[in-house]
């Protein structure tokens, strides 16, 4: 197991290097630079432009900039934001809890609805429920996040008044400093009456919006995995033994069907982090997605590079954890043997 873990970790190194290089080059291929991006109509003289490029180290050959950057990362230094002059790691760690909280809630929403829905669809294969669910899943998968978010705001917030429009907290009623960066925890720590409920309230719409695509994927995946398992001999045997339908489906079939579902959940984390870019913008959610979008507009190279590297690290880590989870769910799978 340990050898497998070490092997997997070593395998991530070339991925990181390639990612670092591609990100570095691609960002610089985008026209414009951080100085011009800030100037607008006012423009800047070529002399002053050159002077500022030099101050930022952007006058150096690309290969040298890359070597310096890679050297910094090897020493745990992701650079400093050109715009805010704050270390990238600090900015990332300040914002990442918000993204993680939203991702976890969105995934919880997707799993809580997607798995049971997929199971029921498999059990009722071909019936109206199954067809409706698969139709909805396809719709959910194809829906543009931005459009879906705005529609939900219009209906749930503006028309029905059930949820707040955006943000993480009612700014007038509550005020607490982030301690952990997770609104659910910080609201509890604040000791303010109603703050936790308010934080939950603010999480509803963004979680639904971000969780919709994974929900559709999980529901479809669960359904097809269950259909396959339900055809297996041991399921038939269990039924023949007179076990209740609930026990057969819930214990014997579902447990084995979960392996591909968990793989899919792991892969969906990457999708969620990518989807968070849009969801965070619509819901003014102060996470890394929104930060990256602004960094693109401002050509804040260190923030973009560092942000992408750190998010990639999270995705790789999640996939590693998922890999290890296989062994726990199905003891027949043993890594490294």
């Amino acid at each position: 197991m340990l050898r497998h873990l070490i092997n997997r970790l070593l395998l991530t190194l070339p991925t990181f290097l390639a990612l670092m290089f591609v990100t570095f080059v691609m960002i610089r291929l985008v026209p414009g630079d951080p100085i011009e991006a800030r100037r607008g109509e006012r423009g800047i003289s070529p002399e002053r432009h050159a002077e500022l490029l030099k101050e930022m180290g952007l006058d150096q050959p690309i290969w040298k900039q890359f070597v310096d950057y890679a050297w910094g990362i090897l020493h745990g230094d992701f650079g400093t934001s050109i715009i805010s002059k704050t270390p990238i790691l600090h900015e990332f760690l300040t914002l990442f809890p918000a993204t993680l909280e939203l991702t976890i809630c969105a995934m919880a929403f997707a799993v809580a609805i997607g798995v049971p829905a997929g199971v029921i669809a498999a059990v009722r294969r071909g019936k109206l429920y199954d067809q409706t669910l698969m139709g909805l899943a396809l719709t959910g998968y194809s829906m543009p996040i931005f459009w879906w978010g705005l529609i939900l705001i219009l209906i749930m917030s503006n028309t029905l008044g059930l949820t707040p429009v955006s943000g993480r907290v009612d700014l007038i009623k509550y005020y607490y400093q982030p301690v952990t960066g997770f609104a659910l925890i910080d609201s509890l720590l604040s000791g303010q009456k109603g703050a936790f409920g308010d934080a939950v309230h603010h999480l509803i719409l963004p979680s639904i919006v971000l969780g919709t695509v994974p929900l559709a994927v999980i529901a479809r995946m669960t359904r097809s995995a269950m259909l396959e398992v339900l055809e297996e001999d041991y399921v038939r045997t269990a039924r023949a033994k007179g076990l209740s339908a609930k026990r057969v489906v819930g214990l014997h079939a579902l447990r084995n069907a979960l392996i591909p579902v968990i793989t899919s959940i792991g892969l969906q984390i990457g999708t969620l982090l990518a989807g968070a870019v849009l969801t965070e913008t619509i819901f003014s959610w102060p996470g890394v997605g929104k930060w990256l979008i602004e960094s693109i507009g401002r050509r804040d190279y260190p923030a973009l590079q560092g942000g992408i590297m750190l998010i990639s690290a999270v995705v790789i880590l999640v996939n590693l954890i998922v890999d290890l989870l296989y062994g726990l769910i199905n003891p027949r799978i043993r890594h490294g043997k």
């Binding site: 985008v30 026209p31 414009g32 630079d33 100085i35 011009e36 991006a37 800030r38 100037r39 607008g40 109509e41 006012r42 423009g43 800047i44 003289s45 002053r48 432009h49 500022l52 101050e55 715009i83 805010s84 002059k85 900015e91 300040t94 914002l95 705005l150 705001i153 219009l154 917030s157 503006n158 008044g161 707040p164 429009v165 955006s166 943000g167 993480r168 009612d170 700014l171 007038i172 009623k173 509550y174 005020y175 607490y176 400093q177 982030p178 301690v179 910080d186 720590l189 604040s190 000791g191 303010q192 913008t281 619509i282 819901f283 003014s284 102060p286 996470g287 929104k290 930060w291 602004e294």
Partner: protein, 532 residues
């Protein structure tokens, strides 16, 4: 140790909670996070807006207007030779106390004013290099070339500013955000602590609101400060950072914020019909124009540029691109600005006459040109691509084949400045309400070469001479006569084709009173109240 930290955090949050939530609050939906809280090193409206509640300047524009009024300076006097300005500072002006552990021991004095200007000006200033040390606005407004010295006068409340040459617009320049007055004592406090970079992140000033907290990409909080200008009408001012305009509008409708920036043009109609929303509008202090590169033949001939001005149907552009929310421009300065010349005879739309004029000027039918359009939406041009397409069709009627060109915004601006274009769309929003702040866009240096902002590369010796003369005069009526003459030269020479001055919209909840749209796009809340 961890439990001590947790207890501390709990204590802080409880204390913070106790200090908030019960006063009268105003929430402003802003569009982005500030880069920092120091106007001297900022150029973006988002960052300047975020710092403005905290600070004051020597002179400030009247709310909603363009006239500089005494602020931290209760009066100022310009010497007869216009080379010395003496500012008398307001006595008893307090700085915010308790922010970032700083407690001021004295009121505002000349030291603060000198410190603030010298930071931007002198390379050996202890804070010159802090936070990157780039003072773009100070440099762009030509302050290093204008200033000879800034010194303490006869007493602690007198500041004497000496100029190298007369410069009447400088008073308006001093009303701009870069000329904010900081606390020299706070700067020293942080330098002694070894954290000078906090100076630009945790602001201390004399403004109507005291900084409380900033959570990146989420919220900025201020509380009312009973300072020299009196206590504001709201207790808490909260900036809810909301980047998406549709989400801002939804928040305004849900009363999650009471004032919002930059509405989506597509939402304006719905806003105007919403019973809870007051859609305020004002003629913008801006100009959208088509630059004609006067150094590239055949556009170096004035009659060719005049023909182009007659070939473009600006009424149609106003209707389609601006959706009627603007005014056709005939002068380079907007009509709300003093010295605007009502008497200018605008170019009529007449493609046939334009064709004839081109022929008379020796321009062959089917002349090929490029026509650049900006890849961004700006207050003075809501849809540059559509505008360029309409112009392309108009020019075709006059026998000119225009090819549309665009680049990434920064690249676009750089190439225009280098004069790579033949025809290119751009515009300007005023910084300070002084006409010079528009005319300089067509200015040239003493050698007759186009200055950096002059993308049309049009140089007229008389125009330039008058511009310099107007700067040397301190009496407004004298300057006004000169600017009217300059408008005539600009019109006849077609330094660029004036397209339109757009209307600026700002929606607020109907419960908001006292809010005024700033001609400069600033957002100010000193006099704003909100009904509970």
């Amino acid at each position: 140790m961890k439990s001590v930290k947790l207890f501390g955090a709990l204590l802080v949050t409880t204390m913070l909670a106790a200090g908030s939530a019960y006063g009268k609050s105003l929430v402003y939906c802003s569009e982005g996070s500030p880069e920092n809280f120091s106007p001297s090193i900022n150029t973006t409206g988002t960052s300047l807006d975020a710092a403005r509640p905290v600070y004051n300047k020597l002179v400030q524009f009247e709310p909603g207007g363009t006239t500089p009024k005494p602020a931290l300076a209760e009066s100022f006097e310009v010497s007869p030779d216009a080379l010395t300005i003496t500012f008398k500072l307001r006595p008893g002006v307090k700085f915010h106390s308790g922010v970032n552990g700083f407690t001021p021991t004295r009121d505002l004095n000349a030291e603060d004013v000198i410190w603030s200007f010298e930071r931007m000006w002198k390379a050996d200033h202890p804070y010159a290099k802090v936070s990157g040390g780039s003072y773009d606005y100070f440099n762009d407004m030509g302050m290093p070339d204008s200033l000879a010295s800034i010194e303490k006068g006869a007493d602690d409340l007198t500041v004497v500013m000496k100029l190298k040459e007369p410069n009447a617009p400088i008073i308006a320049n001093l009303g701009m955000d870069f000329a904010t007055i900081h606390s020299a004592e706070y700067a020293k406090f942080l330098m002694d602590k070894g954290t000078p970079e906090q100076f630009d992140q945790i602001p201390v000033g004399t403004g109507s609101f005291q900084f409380v907290d900033y959570q990146k990409d989420a919220v900025i909080r201020f509380k009312a400060f009973d300072g020299w200008a009196g206590k504001p009408k709201v207790d808490d001012l909260i900036y809810a950072i909301t980047p998406d305009p549709t989400a801002r509008y939804a928040k305004l409708k849900a009363n999650e914020c009471q004032v919002m920036i930059a509405p989506n043009p597509a939402d304006l109609d719905a806003m105007s019909k919403d019973p809870d929303i007051n859609l305020m509008s004002q003629a913008g202090l801006n100009i959208g124009y088509l630059s004609i590169n006067a150094q590239k033949p055949p556009f170096d001939k004035p009659e060719v540029r005049q023909a182009l001005a007659m070939a473009i149907d600006r009424d149609a552009i106003l209707k389609e691109v601006y959706q009627g929310a603007g005014q056709k421009a005939k002068n380079p300065i907007p009509p709300t600005m003093w010295s605007y010349d009502e008497g200018t005879a605008d170019y009529e739309y007449n493609p046939e006459k334009a064709k004839e004029m081109l022929k008379a000027a020796g321009v062959a039918e089917g002349l090929a040109t490029d026509l650049w359009w900006m890849p961004v939406q700006r207050p003075y041009n809501p849809n540059a691509k559509r505008m360029a397409e309409m112009m392309q069709a108009d020019l075709a009627k006059a026998g000119i084949n225009a090819t549309l060109v665009s680049y990434e915004w920064g690249e676009y601006r750089k190439r225009l400045q280098a004069g790579e274009h033949q025809l290119g769309l751009l515009g300007w929003t005023g910084d300070n309400g002084d006409p010079d702040n528009f005319f300089f866009l067509a200015g040239c240096d003493k050698d007759g070469k186009p200055a950096g902002q002059n993308i049309s590369k049009w140089c007229d010796a008389k125009f330039n001479e008058l511009m310099l003369k107007a700067r040397s005069l301190s009496e407004q009526p004298d300057r006004e006569a000169i600017y009217k003459e300059m408008q005539k030269i600009h019109h006849d020479g077609v330094a660029w084709i004036n397209i339109a001055h757009s209307t600026v919209f700002e929606p607020t909840r109907k419960s908001v009173t006292g809010y005024k749209i700033s001609p400069f796009g600033a957002h100010e809340f000193q006099d704003v109240d909100v009904a509970e």
